[in-house]
Symmetry: C2
Subunit: 211 residues, 2 copies
């Protein structure tokens, strides 16, 4: 029997603990009650030590039988097809779920991650701030009209969108009550809390091994 | 009989002609020989005039029977499931295609578009240049090892990756012969040339209507 396996780093510094993207896949597996095992690649030398599995030197990547996938977004879509807990089965609902997964990656994260990257390198007020504010305003409107992105229920689109929106301080871009309530609602789920705790615990345990 | 319909703007200024993302969907339909019709929303007032169809005020979006999708990446995945010209049918090949579609959107375009955005606003040498150079170097290595991203044949992953890579001047980040050859190979396809010409012609024709 093939087993679903997810790879992450063997260790990361305290800063990114709870944020490394294997969390997205752990979380999806917990939501869908899919059995999985974790394996690791070394954090040291990550730029080149696993390029055959992840061509940008990042994590996560997964293997599930004959299927091998890097990109957390693609891994989420793969897992979603294994469980209707994560994605409705009707074509219109599935398409809407996929659409909001892509929106999280390409309309929101395409702005929030570079904005955050510039902030981390000392440019908190940078050339992306106006664009960022506009996108967050659009999402605030969307989330003010519904509790879940698709079909009145939790889907993998909410998992990803909330994971994207929990990183920046959205309040810094204006009052965002619907967005804050949405992030709190989605990240308050037991599956997120368990997945996050297990990622943090694994990295903390690795502190010992590094001595 | 339902008809596949793609929406774009009724007009855009000369600068973005040939770059508006309905081109991705036109191109995919041409590759797969899928019948489609084009419709438009007004460019003027685009920030608010079609938010029910595209919550960020952008284009394209499509309708195909009961399926309604915004996000060009999600539209491409939908079209790819209608034709094995665009995506292999075996699970491993389909997963690889989906993975590279997401990589184009979230590992490459997430850097190239913000970099380009900063450049357009007068910051050609900006805080994303190092990240951009690294990602393009990884893609150069990948494309030096194969002609097509998945399965030794053209897929929708090549369509999207080439469309992403044709926008920035990759040569400005160092010698990139494999990337340049790849973009030339993919955008040399008859379906791209036809789709691009038709988009440009439609926007040029709209100049007359605006007077």
């Amino acid at each position: 029997m093939s087993e679903l396996t997810i790879w992450t780093y063997d260790w990361v510094p305290p800063g990114p603990r709870g944020l490394v993207r294997d969390l997205r896949l752990r979380w999806a597996c917990e939501e869908a009650d899919l059995a999985y095992q974790m394996r690791t690649v070394p954090f040291d030398g990550r730029e080149t030590n696993h390029l055959a599995d992840q061509p940008f030197g990042q994590v996560p990547f997964l293997k599930d039988g004959a299927v091998e996938i890097f990109e957390s977004g693609a891994g989420l879509l793969h897992l979603a097809r294994r469980s209707d807990t994560l994605m409705p089965r009707d074509p219109a609902g599935a398409a809407q779920t996929e659409q909001w997964v892509i929106a999280a990656l390409n309309s929101i994260e395409m702005v929030t991650v570079p904005w955050w990257f510039l902030k981390m390198t000392g440019q908190a007020d940078n050339g992306l701030t106006g664009w960022m504010t506009g996108r967050l305003t659009h999402m605030e409107r969307v989330l003010g009209e519904r509790d879940w992105l698709v079909g009145g229920r939790f889907t993998v689109a909410d998992l990803l969108m909330a994971d994207v929106l929990r990183v920046p301080d959205v309040r810094a871009f204006g009052d965002r009550p619907a967005t804050e309530a949405y992030v709190a609602r989605v990240t308050g789920r037991a599956a997120f809390i368990k997945a996050r705790a297990e990622q943090v615990a694994a990295f903390e345990a690795a502190d010992q091994a590094r001595g």
